[in-house]
Symmetry: C2
Subunit: 212 residues, 2 copies
DNA sequence: GTCTATATGCAGATAGAC
DNA sequence: GTCTATCTGCATATAGAC
């Protein structure tokens, strides 16, 4: 059983522990849990392996602290949106915006989550429940909107998959997309990412709009 | 420099080599390139490590054969669609259908590709070019359709990201989605996957439709 | 807290008999 | 082609001095 530690936001930014967290993020993103090497993390943090193990007994513990540390920063915002009482389409907009601002700060998170989804889905699922993430409210809301005829018929899982897919794909696929669609120009790609929020929002709204 | 081998479709299905390929697919999906163990692949194939190395000199070679073997089955279909002369919306429908049938046969491919996108984007990008995959035709087609006023304005990268995101997300996120949205019922989830094709197609068509 | 040096285990790969 | 046994290297983790 794993304890989910608090994230490390309120930490002295140049403390050794914080340097390790930062370094571990970078390396885990590039290499994943299995591909990452403690040596590489130590190098990136400017310390040695022994000190790394002084702060984090095992690689598993370090990974969990880093992973659930960043993830726990996203969830509260989503919970608030899910539980709120705004009109449905505003909710959609808020979800896109929440992910968008979060992703621009943590562009590596999607790859992170994808890997973890397959590596240890039970732990991840448990974590989300522990954090209080629950879809039942928004799920019910969609049904109501559909029944009232305010939006075109769609189930929550389908809408959710569509939304999350559109949001995260440019981050997950960046190395390939940037090469194939933007001649490997990172500036152009960042601009593309900035346009996503508006594009996705209008894309979804259009597709849910009922015929006049 | 890596040679891209032909896939193993025309192989005796219960030959040792084919058993290895099958086993390797399963293990690589679950664990990724780095997390996978040759021992585990050998076990899954019902042989031992030495024999594994007899057929595939290195783990790297085995991975590449498996990965590019499956991937190369998807690309020709896409190329044909991209280059064809059907009306634009039919093309969209064909792409969704192509992915859909392919994914239902290879539900693991998305995770595979995602991992590889980050592990070795150059090789993957080169492979796609070598196979003749090229977006310029469909990219131009979208511009024309937009200029003619047949569809709402959208750039190819945005539409592509939306489309691919919606298509692959349920496969990438399955372990989590199935737990969170379908009470971990695999039958329900397979049914959900089968509905995706129709849902995505109509979702995209609606969002591209111009105001009357 | 931070280091050097070392222990331990395991995974990829090979040798060689059959 | 298939096996058993073994080598080699490397990654995690610890011991112990400062």
């Amino acid at each position: 059983m794993v304890k989910f530690v608090k994230n490390s936001l309120n930490m002295c930014p140049d403390s050794t522990k914080e340097k390790i967290i930062q370094a571990a993020q970078q390396v885990f993103i590039r290499k994943g849990m299995d591909g990452a090497r403690m040596q590489e993390i130590a190098d990136e943090a400017g310390i040695n392996k022994a000190l790394l193990h002084y702060y984090f007994h095992s690689k598993e513990q370090l990974f969990n602290d880093v992973f659930y540390g960043v993830l726990s920063q996203l969830i509260p915002g989503l919970i608030e949106i899910f539980k709120g009482n705004e009109p449905f389409l505003e909710k959609i907009e808020a979800i896109v915006a929440e992910y968008d601002t979060y992703m621009s700060k943590n562009p590596f998170l999607p790859q992170f989550v994808i890997r973890e989804i397959n590596r240890d889905p039970d732990q991840l699922s448990r974590f989300m429940s522990d954090q209080g993430l629950d879809f039942s409210h928004i799920e019910a809301m969609i049904e109501i909107e559909v029944n009232k005829g305010n939006i075109r018929p769609i189930s929550f899982p389908h809408l959710f998959a569509n939304l999350i897919g559109m949001i995260v794909m440019p981050y997950i696929g960046r190395p390939l997309f940037q090469r194939k669609l933007f001649r490997n120009d990172p500036v152009k790609y960042d601009q593309f990412l900035q346009e996503r929020k508006a594009v996705i929002t209008s894309f979804v709204k259009q597709s849910l709009k009922v015929e006049r």
